[in-house]
Every structure is written in C-alpha cells, then in structure tokens.
Amino acid sequence: MDLEPRSLMTRLASMLPPDLAAGAYVAGSLAAGFHFEGHLPRREMRTKDADIVVHTIGAHDELGRRTEELLSRGWTWNYPKKFSPGSAETPVGELPFIRLFPPGFSDFFIEFLGEPAIGQQEAKAHGRIVVSGAHYAVPVFRFIGLTSWNLLDSGLGLKYADPAMMCLANLLSHPRLGTTRMETDIGGTACLRSAKDLGRVLAIARLTPRGEQDAWAERWVQALMKWFPQEWRQLGSSIASGLEELARDPAALGEAHHTAAHLGLLPGLRVSVEQLAGVASELNHDVLRPFIERCTRG
C-alpha cells in the first residue's frame, strides 16, 4: 500500500516507548523513503513493513520485556503463515520473527532485527527471544551492523540508517546474484532477493547527487574496519561483483528496476532499465573503484 514515510515515521516515534526508540533505528525501505521523500510521487512509497534494528539485541531478556510492553499497549502479532510461537525445544531457525502491527494498523508492521557481533561470519544468525513464556527469534544479518554507522536523525525522535550505509550492506550481502527468490511477490513478480536489494542500491545511488557520493568510499572503509577488523580488505575488494553480474544480466536487471520502481523510489525520475544500468556504471566509477582501491592498497 502507498504510505507517506514522514507520517509513518512520526507515528512510529510516538508509539514506541522513548527508551526503546533511543536504542533502535529504522533501516530498509522506510529509511530510504524518508530520506528521499522529496523525490517520491505525492511523497508516498509502497511498503508493508519497517525494519527496526535494535542495538541491544545481546540483551535478549530486555527485548522480550520490551515486546511484552508493546503488546500491553495494543500492538498485535503478525505471525508468518507457516510459523507459530515455539518453546525452549524448538530450533531457533524454526521460530517466528517478532513482527508487530502498531495499534490501528493491519497492513503495516514492524520487525525487529538484531545487531551482529563484530566479525559475524554467518549470513543470517538468529537470536532467541522469550516473550510471555513463548519463544521467538530475531534475525541478525551479517552486514546489518554497517547500517548503524553515521545514523541520521529524523528530527521526530527516531534515528534512521544512512542510505549510503544501506548500499554498502546490500552490496556486501550479494557478491553473487544467486537463485534465492523473494517469498512474497512484488508487483506480481517473485524477484531475486539480490535483484531487489541491488535495485534499491541503484535507486539510492540515482537519488543521491554524485558530488555527495564522492564521500561514500571513505565512510564505507571506516565502517567496514570497525565491523570486520580482520577481513575488511578482503570483503571490500569484492564489493562490485554482484552489481557487475546484475548489469550483465538483462532479466535480473529488469527485476531490479521493477522492484525499485514498484517501491516508489524511481517513478518520479522516469528511469528506464537501460538508465539503471548507467547508474550502475556511474556508481562503479564514482564509488566502488575508489573504495576497492582503498581496501586493496597497502
């Protein structure tokens, strides 16, 4: 559904307990839409959820209590179809994630994401959370921590991820296009997960003035060194591979365009699929090459 990012951010900020809001930030499509709201047609975007990254995921009990508090304030569960709350015996990979409808919403929910440990190796780990005696999970993506670098202030009581850092996390998450497809159709298409995420990277790059992108590489290096002190050079040097594969694959590029356009980040700009490939070329020359050079030099 089409929603105004500013309105959503305002309502979320007012509905989340202040100390929870202070220890969390918004990432994903809502963060991108809020940052670029001036470019959205009618200042609206198409989204169904907000990713809330919680800094204190290490304190699982704390997040459990916070969730109970939200439920007592009128928030309601949004269970994925094939999952139900588990017990201490349920493997963590089979537990449902914490997805909650805010009071008054039935088609927009928040999902808690955890912040990883420094140098996490698994692409997706899980944190076990107990809420009112039932067991749930919080996904902890390997590169999500990078989005906590240089958090931006919405001015509404919630911080949100810098779009440049979301680009870094998405690029590192997809060194190859792979074959994993989205579980939910986007505009009638079951798109490649990588095409969706890399399409968002290109949309953000297209919406950011190129003069501003010149500063991305150094910020990326600093964040990568913090979160991956042992392997930042190796990770950084292969950052362009997924995007290069996307640019060479007309079908995947079409899906990237489809998802970025469907989300609402591109329609106002009338960007064609060919022009999206041009954005990839610009991003490669402006940011990725200087970044790789910085990562590989002695």
Partner: protein
Amino acid sequence: MGARDLHASIVEMALAVEENPAIELACLVWRGERMSWARTRNEWGRVTRLLPEPVRRRLGLLWLVKGSETKCEPPDLGTHPVVRQLEKSGLREEVGAAPASAGLSPGFSEVFKVLLALWLRGSGPITTGELIRRCRFSYPTIAGAIEELVRRRELRRLRNRSVELVGFPRQTWQQVVAISDQLRRTIRFVSPSGRPPDPEFLLGRLSKTPLDWVAVGGVIAARRLFPEFDLKGTPRLDLTLGSRGANVPLLIGRIDPSLESTTDPSAEFSLVVHRLRRDDPLFETSPQGGPATADPVEVLLDLHELRLERQAAELVEYLLRKRRT
C-alpha cells in the same frame, strides 16, 4: 584543402576509430578538385602506414570530383555497402555544387579565429611569421587566409609584413558561425543514467587535476569573461582542447569514465569537447586557479551552438567595449 588538411583529417578519423571499437569502417570523403587522385592516394599511404593495423584496416578513402569516376582506397572499398549507399545519397551532387562554405576551410577558419581572438583581446598587429608559429600551418595556408580576408576588406596589411583586423569582421564571423558545426572537431557526451547534466560536478572533477591542454568554454567561460552574463543555470560543460598532448580518453577517464559519446543531436549533453587544430590554444589562465579559460572566439562559438544567440551578441558587445577602453 591541402596535404596538411588531408593528414589532419586522416589522423582525426583514426583517433575516432581507435577510441570507438563499435566503428567497423570509417570512410573519408575527399573532394578532389585541388588534389589529384595520385597525390591524394600517395598522401593517404604516407599517413596510414604509420597507423597500427587494427586501426588502418578500418579506414577507407573516397575521392570525388564532379564528372570523374569515384576512386577508392583500398580499391575494393567501392563494393562496400556503406560506400555504395554514399554514392546513392546524392553526395556527388553536393560535391559538384561546391557549397558556400567551400571558401572557409578548416585552415582558413583557424587562422581567422586566431586573428579575431587576439584582436578581441586588444593585441596589436600580427606578423605572418607569428601566425605561422601560432597556427603551425603552412605558409600557403596562412597567406591564402590573409589574402581572402584582405579581399573581403576585413583585414589590412601593415608594414613589416604584419596584418590587423579593420574591425569586428561580421561577414566572415557570420559564415564561420553558420558552419562551425562542420569546422569544429566536436565530441558530445551524455550521462548513461539519464541524470540531468551537472556541469559544476564535472568541472569540480577537472579542477582536482587540471590538464594544461584543457580549457573551459561555453557558459562557464562566458561568465568568467563577462561577469554580467545573463543566463540562469549552466546547461552543460564545454571544454576546448589544445592540439598538443590532447587525449580525449584520458580526459574522460579523469572527469567521468561513465560518460558515453553520442551523435544524437537531440540528446541532452553533459559534456561537449571541442578539439582545436592550431598549435597555440590561446588559453587564458584563470585568476581563481583551476582550469584555464578558452579564448573568446571559441566561447562565442560554444554559445551559438547552444542557441544562446542573444547572450553571444551581448558578449561580443561587451568585448568590443572592453577592447575600446
């Protein structure tokens, strides 16, 4: 059009072929009234044998004279579909008709532009030797241009073999403006992402690592020359390249390797590069630092190409007032 012009045209075509792998065949159509086929073929061979094989085999020469058989080099070029299409296109009739621009060869126009640029800057008379040094053209080319401008009563001969423009040479200027697209060696670039042109961004990149054979032209240079220049915004970045050391791929690599060259006249150009033929580019150092400024004549031609006729006329009037004071 003499041997030097032929050499320059071959080298220019070779550069275009070398820079653009998509070009399968580049064919130089040479009007042969002033040069026999034997001489033309000889000069062609002198230059092309210096070129690397992958470039040379993609070049062809078509020699046309009204009433004569078309000559080709290599000889089998005439069977190439592109050449046959050229033959059918009415090109021969155009050659026979000798267009009004025939008197304004690239050599003539370059000499004229040097004379005008120096005059607008308030320089005094210039000797033939000085013109030869600045243009690096042969004496016959320089002398022919002077003779033609004197005949048009736009140039006067002074003592010591020096010459000076009588005033602003409006007749020849209008002719040069009218055919400047054909006379100037221009390459146009567009952004592959469809972003609107961002000339200040590209200029910022160039300013980080200035190249001494590149000068800023167009609207940005007009503002440097004429602080009251009346135009909001900057539609594109115009750059003028001197002939010594100029390297278009190097330039594009420095400022934006993602730019794509285009021949589509309706495209929204981000960058337009004009390559000079003469030896002295007449660049002016920028007092603010950064890239130099192209000479006022190139800047005026850029404005005309942008269809900024009123602004070009105002710049001329300003330069004339400044010259008088």
